[in-house]
């Protein structure tokens, strides 16, 4: 069992480290992990789950706002981008947040093509993060099931 645990732990460490290295996650994700304990073992997963729901909702808003036949209300788009920027920042979703920054600039410049591009990228990006995190949480579960402890991995 120990060999399995050790192997899983190593896999977990490498995988998590790569998420930071590749810019999927930043410091704030590490901060969230500090808030998790034995009494709230799923805190991070729960918050991220709420975040992904937020993504769906806000991206939907942005898409609808950009889909006007006629004039687009860029401030409306921008409002949703601002919200997504906030929540992505709060959970450490670095790439999503970065895209929101760019997106916001396009909104302010009333740049329709830029906005549409960003919207597409954000959609791809949050889904990619979701998949990666699911894999990460699965590894955690496997470690625990194998009788081990989830190692601490800061970026």
């Amino acid at each position: 069992m120990d060999a399995l645990v050790a192997q899983l732990q190593m896999q977990y460490r490498n995988y998590t480290a790569s998420l930071y290295q590749q810019g999927f996650l930043d410091d704030q994700f590490t901060e969230l992990k500090k808030l998790q304990d034995d009494a709230s073992p799923d805190f991070v997963a729960e918050v991220l789950s709420l975040f992904f729901e937020d993504c769906v909702k806000l991206i939907g808003n942005m898409a609808r706002a950009l889909d006007q036949t006629g004039t687009v209300d860029f401030s409306q788009v921008g409002a949703s981008v601002h919200q997504l920027k906030g929540s992505s920042s709060s959970v450490g979703a670095k790439r999503v947040k970065g895209l929101c920054v760019t997106f916001k600039e396009y909104c302010e410049a009333n740049n329709y093509e830029g906005c549409v591009r960003c919207l597409q990228q954000i959609d791809i990006e949050y889904k990619a993060l979701k998949t990666k995190l699911q894999d990460m949480f699965n590894l955690e579960k496997q470690i625990v099931q194998a009788g081990g402890k989830v190692p601490q991995v800061d970026n």
């Binding site: 704030q28 901060e31 969230l32 500090k34 808030l35 709230s40 805190f43 729960e46 918050v47 709420l50 975040f51 937020d54 409002a79 601002h82 919200q83 920027k85 906030g86 929540s87 920042s89 709060s90 959970v91 450490g92």
Partner: protein, 262 residues
């Protein structure tokens, strides 16, 4: 809400929840710190709530300035004199919110007789100096740059606890970790930090002199503690979001205001 406007419900431990939207009020012990958190983002509300709970605060989280006023009983004109004070030790609010901004909420709180002495902390994702100044001038206790971290909340907690009960020794210890101190401050006339009973009038004239504050601990300890040079920067460019140095004395005075020392 209870019949008289919802205030008394929080003093009774049998009132587990207040039916204001999706808000729940935890049963309160009188010496526990109760924080009202205001943020329109669900994700941020969950995070700030957890940050506060982990630092042993009771938390009531609401999603708008209006809900906050409703909770505080400030949402209607008739302020009943019989209403017992709701026990709120700190209000922490997001700046950018639809409807009522955190700044507007801050103003309303500072205009109210029952809650003007409750410290209000503003959170914002944007590090805009004019915004920060405006909030501090309006009476905000502190300004936190989002994303909020555990260290930020711990710092808030430490200056809150200082105002609740406390012996001089504990106050001194907590002070070392709270407000950023100027390295340029002249040393107090009483270098011995145990000499806390020295009246303030003996302290050198500095921007930190604040007669209404009782303990000289304000002066006695900080200079011996490691001082973060970053705090000398005028612009709070670091995520620590220290207020501008000129604001520190204002903040300290506010923290020592009588109402908080109940």
């Amino acid at each position: 809400m209870a019949r008289d406007g919802g205030v008394s419900c929080l003093r009774s431990s049998e009132m587990m929840s207040v039916g204001i939207g999706k808000m729940e009020s935890p049963p309160l012990e009188l010496d526990e710190v109760h924080v009202l958190a205001v943020d329109d983002s669900l994700v941020d509300r969950i995070v700030i709530e957890r940050l506060l709970r982990i630092t042993s605060c009771k938390v009531t989280a609401v999603d708008s300035g209006w809900r906050a006023l409703e909770f505080l009983g400030l949402d209607n004109e008739k302020a009943s004199a019989e209403l017992d004070r709701l026990k709120v030790d700190l209000i922490i609010t997001d700046y950018c919110m639809p409807g009522m901004t955190g700044y507007e909420l801050l103003k309303k709180i500072k205009e109210s007789s029952s809650f003007r002495q409750v410290p209000v902390v503003i959170m914002s994702s944007e590090n805009v100096l004019t915004r920060i100044d405006r909030c501090l001038e309006e009476g905000a206790e502190d300004f936190l740059l989002k994303p909020v971290k555990l260290a930020d909340v711990k710092r808030l907690r430490s200056y809150l606890t200082r105002d609740v009960k406390l012996s001089n020794a504990n106050k001194r210890k907590l002070l070392e970790h709270s407000v950023p101190i100027q390295t340029s401050l002249p040393p107090p006339s009483s270098p011995d930090s145990s000499d806390s009973s020295r009246p303030l009038t003996n302290s050198p004239e500095s921007s930190d002199s604040s007669p209404p504050l009782s303990p000289v601990e304000i002066f006695s300890s900080p200079l011996s503690s490691p001082i973060d040079d970053e705090d000398d920067d005028v612009l709070p460019s670091s995520p620590e979001s220290s207020p501008t140095p000129e604001e520190s004395p204002v903040r300290r005075q506010k923290m020592g205001s009588p109402g908080l020392l109940d």
